[in-house]
């Protein structure tokens, strides 16, 4: 089958049920009902706190072939996933599906367990390093499924991704299972991704290094969803969980890209009182916060809400009254975590509230402007954020598809050249976000407006930024770096990239040279 963006999607892919080709950002209309966890009886004063992870694994009834989930708020400081998978392996359980909201480099530790068959399938937002290479290698027993944050929430709520046991790293947890992410030595801020797992998994295990007497408040994940609690020495390395305030880049090229992006916003027609905005955590995105702040002050404009992926520059805007409220699915630095704790206008939200296209209103649908990064983009405005120049998985879809589809104006920032490689090309190796949902591409040498958005191109005429056709940008990139040879791949499909609605937007074939 050829999907709506011209990618070939085989009719049969091992391990992938009910294959639907991508048909457009809002073409697929779902049917059916939400799923839910099993119903249980809970007696007064029952004990939830268990002695060890091993005991919790036994209590959940985890068996061969089941699906376990984790959340990635601890980023590169996460101990929970590695610790639990090691304990599961010791019990001799095999054939599990691992469904974390994302994977970080630190999770490479579990590769031996994948090789031993403890884990045979992975469904996640992305992976890096050795893990990314493994998922691309074709050595996995089952095809990997890549989903966006909104797509994952959708898959869980629809029952497409059934989680048997969710393991939730709990920075603070009381003895009856109320959890928040803002207290304790391993505070990570928002628990937005884990909220969906907790609400829909059959069994939920909280793993904490900060067990407190009942009741804990505020509550992010409630006692009504948590079956068992295990106290351990440490659930993460605070240094890897959150850095000090993320700093604005000093790289002049990133700053220039950020300036162009900010000027594009200013002239787009969306830069008005009470507009809303999401900025990523990439260098140019963060730098844009600084320029946007200056423009907002200059013109006396404030935003109704900010969305993220939250970082210190965003918090400064909240504290200075430039943004009325922040909705937060994940935090990247310590000021953001602290802000969520003390500022009532800094709201935690679930991944479903954030981006699930099949609920009654994800906040991305209210978003005016988003700035997103990209690994590579093509002349159809398609964006790749998952595979590198060798065709190997090295990134994550995250909220890319979701915010691009939801926002009225989606801006993708990318350098024209990365090292010796052109980043604006004829065809991206893997499509993650369809060009139909991308409005502007900003590079250091020029800004291209999607031809679907003639209105934007007209608006940017006055902006004093170099507006070019996307083909001109590609030609410029090729002029400097040459046209790259296509990556040679086998027929073997290592991973599928779902669009947020569950249709397949692309597949990742095993590169011949890996």
């Amino acid at each position: 089958m050829i999907n709506a963006i011209g990618r070939e999607i085989p009719e049969n892919i091992a391990g992938i049920k009910n294959i639907k080709p991508y048909g457009g950002p809002f073409e697929y209309v779902p049917t059916g009902r939400l799923t839910g966890p099993n119903i249980i009886l809970n007696r007064p004063r029952s004990e939830k706190v268990l002695k060890s992870i091993e005991q919790a694994i036994d209590a959940t009834g985890l068996k061969d072939g089941m699906t376990i989930s984790f959340h990635h708020h601890f980023r590169n400081g996460d101990y929970v996933l590695n610790m639990v998978v090691a304990a599961i392996a010791k019990k001799g359980i095999k054939g599990l599906t691992l469904a974390p909201s994302s994977l970080n480099n630190i999770n490479e530790e579990i590769i031996p367990y994948i090789e031993q068959g403890v884990i045979t399938a992975v469904e996640t937002s992305g992976a890096r390093g050795k893990m990314g290479k493994l998922l691309t290698s074709g050595k996995m027993a089952k095809t990997t499924i890549i989903r966006s944050h909104g797509g994952r929430a959708r898959a869980i709520e629809s029952g497409e991704l059934r989680i048997d046991v969710a393991f939730i790293g709990a920075p603070a947890c009381d003895t009856y299972g109320n959890i928040n992410g803002v207290e304790g030595k391993s505070a990570c801020g928002s628990l937005g991704y884990a909220m969906v797992d907790a609400a829909y998994a059959d069994k939920v295990v909280a793993i904490t290094d900060h067990l407190v007497p009942y009741p804990l408040f505020p509550v992010s994940i409630p006692q009504t969803q948590v079956d068992y609690i295990v106290e351990v020495e440490a659930i993460g390395d605070p240094k890897g969980i959150a850095s000090g305030a993320l700093r604005i880049s000093k790289d002049p090229r990133e700053l220039l890209i950020a300036q162009y992006a900010t000027t594009a916003i200013e002239y787009s027609g969306y830069f008005k009182q009470d507009y809303s905005i999401q900025l990523g955590s990439g260098g140019a995105s963060l730098a844009a916060a600084q320029f946007l702040k200056a423009k907002m002050k200059q013109q006396g404009i404030t935003a109704s809400f900010g969305l993220g992926g939250v970082t210190a520059p965003f918090i400064e805007m909240l504290d200075e009254g430039l943004i009325k409220a922040i909705y937060d699915v994940q935090d990247f630095d310590i000021p953001s975590i602290q802000s969520m704790k003390k500022n009532a206008n800094h709201q935690e939200m679930s991944a479903s509230f954030y981006a699930n296209p099949h609920n009654r209103g994800p906040i991305v649908n209210q978003l005016d402007v988003v700035i997103l990064s990209a690994t590579e983009v093509d002349v159809d405005f398609n964006v790749n954020v998952i595979t590198d120049s060798n065709g190997v998985i090295m990134g994550a879809v995250g909220g890319h598809q979701d915010t691009a589809a939801g926002a009225a104006l989606s801006i993708v920032v990318a350098p024209l050249l990365r090292g010796r490689l052109p980043m604006v090309i004829d065809q991206v190796h893997t499509v993650c976000t369809p060009g139909e949902t991308v409005d502007i591409i900003v590079t250091e040498r020029g800004v291209a407006v999607n031809p679907r958005r003639k209105d934007l191109r007209d608006n940017l005429r006055e902006a004093n930024i170099p507006v070019m056709d996307i083909e001109e940008l590609r030609d410029l990139a090729y002029e400097f770096a040459g046209k790259p040879d296509p990556i040679l791949v086998s027929d073997e499909i290592a991973a599928v990239v779902e669009y947020r609605d569950g249709t397949l937007i692309d597949v990742i074939r095993r590169p011949l040279q890996l």
């Binding site: 000093k250 002049p252 090229r253 220039l256 162009y260 000027t263 250091e444 040498r445 004093n464 930024i465």
Partner: protein
Amino acid sequence: MKLRRTMMFVPGNNPGMLINAGIYGADTIIFDLEDSVAISEKDAARHLVYNAMKAIKYPCEVAVRINHISTPFGYKDLEVILAVKPDLIRLPKSETAADIQEIDAIITAAEIKHGFVPGSIKMMAAIETAKGIRNAFEIATASPRMVAIAIGGEDFLADLQTSRTKDGKEFYSARGQLILAAREAGIHAIDTVFGDVNNEEDFIAETTRIKEMGFDGKSVVNPRQINIAHQIFMPTTKEIDHAERVITAYKESLARKSGVVSLNGKMIDVPVVKRAERTLAYANAAGKNNGRVKL
């Protein structure tokens, strides 16, 4: 009107910087073969700059700072670089008119050899010693190729046996003499670099100060300084408004064949008209090339 508000140094031995040097909106980029390049990399830098200039279309004036011709590298720099026709050769540590004339002759020979329009490659000189300052006017007028003289900071301070201060006292006399020489010679005066790129506040203070002294531009070492400097050199809206009114009044008086120009009942002298013309020409040039980014 040719603007040289910012002349940005780019180390000649850094390929990444050479590729992107043109994107930041500097009025002039100066590929450096001299102080930012270690002796062991002089030849590499020379060939990298040569190839970059051959392959890349830069959107602005391109200068090359060569090594002084008293070093083993200066002549070789000229031989290689002149073949790709830089807009400007910048000579460091200029002390006498003879330095300039010697290079002028080499450039003339290269223009003939490569078939370039005679006189199309311009020159500028950096003055970095007390002796050079004393000879500033002679240097500025040593060749018709000369378009600018600049003051070179650190070497000059060493020669003067002093060091940097916050308000730049150490440069008072040198900057004063340099601007006088440049104005008399009818060429641009360019100020020295401000090396502490993270100190925006003092960069703004210094650039404002030298603009007020009459300098035409500043050497910069980081793209982040470009827009700031351009904003400082840009005439204010008020200045442009005033200039427009002066010119209108002047034109009206010409139409009336009246020798007296007056604006709001006040007499306007000829120098005021000249300044207004300059302000408008400057604003026009800066508007076309104001770093391409509106801040």
